[in-house]
């Protein structure tokens, strides 16, 4: 019963917050958007004040009264200090770095202010993340980055981030929840898989090109890694992988490939859509790393083979948004 009430209350609270603080691109925090309340330490401080008041009353000591009232006034002054430490702060949703499902997407937020107040220890946090603490002074603009875990491909909007500060005395906390309308593109969760020998080629009926097989004599295009064999050139040893304790491997290069590589939905028969996308995603990564030109074929989508970062991003984007309903509000 209690749990149900709590759920009802939380639901109402969430709805109220949503109405009060709708998603935005840029926000200037002011008294309509900030909440302030004593912290646990603040309540203990009130306890201390009561104790001191009892001592002053019972000992009928006016100096103790005066000092008790001084601490009480300090508490009240702290309300202003705490509030003004955050009020007037401008926060803008900045760039967003896409991420793969199961990893994180990085959200940037830009902090600035019109005044020149010195602001200390403002915490930014997202559910499930450790808070990032920022101080801001003068007219500087600061960026904070929150790496937020993402799970499903498609567009992802970060949940409400909490801006919170207890500066200067920790007696009161001032906080707000901000929902920014910046969105991260989430690529499918990459799953490594064996590349079907003939599958990567464009036309299924066409035999695979002879020169597709990687060989270690050439030096044009990187194809992949193979276990080190005695006698191989030391120049081709993949030291990075060695450092990651993946054993001694050599880089293998392919000479220019005339034929095009196609990452094709149809290459992965018998799998469900997400599983296919995951594998296509992993291949995209490895081809892109190998700087091999590759194209993408999905039902209703065809991207001509290409190389480079932009091409890769376009391919990954198609994978991310394939048969994905556009979420309300669109993308940033």
């Amino acid at each position: 019963m209690i749990i149900r009430w709590r759920q009802v209350f939380n639901g109402l609270y969430q709805r109220w917050i949503e109405r009060r603080l709708p998603p935005i691109k840029k926000i200037r925090l002011d008294n309509r958007k900030l909440f302030i309340f004593p912290t646990r330490a603040g309540f203990s401080f009130i306890g201390l004040l009561i104790l001191l008041w009892l001592i002053a009353t019972n000992f009928e000591n006016n100096v103790v009264f005066a000092l008790t009232f001084l601490l009480a006034s300090l508490f009240i002054i702290t309300v202003f200090h705490t509030f003004l430490n955050v009020s007037g702060l401008q926060i803008e949703g900045g760039r967003v770095t896409p991420g793969f499902a199961g990893q994180t997407a990085e959200f940037e937020y830009l902090l600035s202010q019109t005044g020149r107040r010195q602001r200390f220890s403002i915490e930014f946090s997202h559910p499930g993340l450790e808070a990032t603490v920022v101080s801001l002074s003068g007219s500087e603009i600061k960026s904070i980055y929150l790496s937020i875990p993402v799970n499903r491909r498609g567009w992802f909007q970060a949940r409400r981030i909490t801006v919170r500060s207890v500066y200067p005395l920790g007696l009161l906390k001032v906080w707000t929840y901000l929902q920014f309308n910046t969105e991260a593109l989430v690529y499918p969760r990459p799953i490594e898989a064996e590349l079907p020998r003939q599958g990567a080629t464009g036309q299924g009926d066409k035999p695979p090109p002879d020169n597709y097989m990687p060989h270690n004599s050439g030096s044009e295009d990187f194809v992949g890694l193979e276990k080190y064999r005695l006698g191989e050139s030391l120049r081709h040893i993949a030291w990075k992988q060695f450092a990651r304790e993946q054993g001694l491997q050599t880089k293998h290069y392919a000479d220019a490939i005339d034929d095009e590589l196609w990452l094709d939905w149809e290459l992965l028969p018998g799998m469900d859509g997400e599983a296919r996308l995951s594998r296509l995603c992993a291949w995209t990564q490895s081809f892109s790393e190998a700087q091999l030109p590759y194209g993408l074929r999905l039902p209703g989508v065809e991207l001509a083979p290409g190389t480079g970062r932009v091409h890769r991003d376009t391919v990954l984007r198609e994978l991310a948004l394939f048969e994905q309903p556009q979420i309300v509000g669109g993308r940033a």
């Binding site: 001592i55 000992f59 100096v63 103790v64 009480a72 006034s73 200090h81 200390f120 007219s139």
Partner: protein, 676 residues
Amino acid sequence: MRPLWQIPRDCLFWLLVSVFVSIGLHLEHLPPWVALSGIVAALWQIQLYRERWHQPGRLLKWSLAGACGAGLLLHYGRMTGLEPMVALLFTGYILKLLEIHHRRDALVLLYLSYLIIILQSLFSSTIVASVLVLVALLPVTAALVAMHGATDNSRPTTALRTGLAMILQAIPLMLVMFIVMPRIGSLWAVPQPNSATTGVSDSMSPGDMTQLGRNGAIAFRVEFDGPIPEQNKLYWRGLVFSSFDGRRWQQQAPQSYRDGRFLQWSNQALEAWDKDIIRRGQPLSYRVTLEATNSHWLFALSTPLSPSSSVALSRDFRLVNNEPVVSKLLYPVRSWLDNQLQAESLPGWRHQIELALPAGYNPKTRAIAKQWRAETPDTAAFINRLLGLYNQEFIYTLRPPALGRHTVDEFLWGTKKGFCEFYASSFVFFMRAAGIPARVVVGYQGGERHPSENYLIVRQYDAHAWAEVWIEGRGWLRVDPTAAVAPERIELSFADLFAEQDEFLSESPFSLEHLRHINWLNNLRLKLDSLDYAWAKWVLGYDNIQNDLLLDLLGAIKPQRIALLLLFAGGIALLPVFIMLYLSREKNTRDELDRLFLQYCARLDNIGLPREPGEGPRDFAQRIGQQAPSLTAQVDALTQLYESARYSEVQGDDLKRFKAALKAFKPSRKAFLHGA
């Protein structure tokens, strides 16, 4: 054990300062080993922070706690009372210093610091001590700021400045709360601090008062509504001694008075004995601010009444407080100097009390008293004869010779040198031996008039003992045998009389009174005293004034009106703080640099070298170098400083140096022309 939470460096700094300050404030009434272990614990914490030492183990901590508890028990013998409780709190505080694992631990320590520092005011609430306590709150506040606003490597002064600003901003509201918040009076009995006080005690034996004669501490201050009466009328009655055991004078037990209760409270029906008091004329109205005495008795001129509900009139016409005076006490008094006390007759049982003498003491005095009484039957003449004897043969001195078993005999017929108590004691003994009811009265006589403020300062060395004799038809009369020996003691103030003697103030070696003869120092001393008195009156004794003040302000004291006043006055007190905070702009170094650079350009403009629009500082400097070569060195140096102040990653003192260099930079048109 590794710390789970690393305390910020500046927070630790101010925390340790707070600990040292707390120890310093309480040094006077803490066992020395507690203070010492506090210092050791603080050093240990420093070593912990530097990762030189380890956290004390659990066994060590528990045994330390046990040792502290046992030590306190050994030191005090009990755990009740204020001092042991504060010492116990202190040991807990010190041990806590050894285990700062969480933010919460540091917080507990800081809250305890606030508590412990403020508790000092229970022991001493003079103006100096209170200001010290106020200042001591600063490092604690700075530590709190440092704890919550810590940016890496921020300097301790940053936190201190914020803490100081906040305390200063809190003061106006504190004043409002102090003035308005009603005091409801003690809720339950609390142990009072055992402060060592000096002053007249509840008994008198030869030599007791010579101690006081050397002490310059203030006993009480009196503010009169009208002019201050003459010196020889200022007999501040405190205690009445009717019982003598051969050496020691003491108060008669209250039970031995058989007509009604001993104390008459102002809110009770009049006791039967009140009719014994005849009050004539207009009363003298004044307020006494008594220093702590740890005793019940109060001091007033005869014959007094106090409107205060906590003050009673006693059967022997003195004022008595309902509780021991453990801190400064202000009480209003009205005294009828023109009075008659018990004029009608003294009942037989009272005759017995006021004539009682111990057997086996002072046989010579008894014999001579009887003989004199036979020769001089008139009481007034009899008294005058004894006073005449004092006047002719006796010497008033602060250094009386010691007396043996028969104190009065030896004094009257032997040494003939003494202090007021010797005269009072021998006089009363002599009267009683002759069959005249008499008693010793102890209190203070005279006082120093503050030259600019209308109040009187009465000090311990004004302590005095005199006699009262009962004469049929006239009642109790004051007789001061000291006045017969040394009339100047009564006419002048004590200090005026004895200032030249070595014994004067030998108990108060640091008193400014030693320098009375240096005029400006004497003025300073009196200024300080009036400050101290104002503190006592307006702060320490504020409860006495508050009621009248609130009545004046509000018309009637009702909770709603008090709340309204608090809101209204509090709002006014906070408004400037809020405006100041809201408008405050942290000084921006970049902006200041711009301003200074514009100044630099303006100076060059003045001599005909304006900066072209869009010309960078370096190009500008180059052009000046060509047009006015004599300025090259200065301009180049300034440009370099400007650039490093503007673009340097490191926050250095380039801005300051630029400012200084600019100050020295005064290009004249001549230099420019010559150069050209």
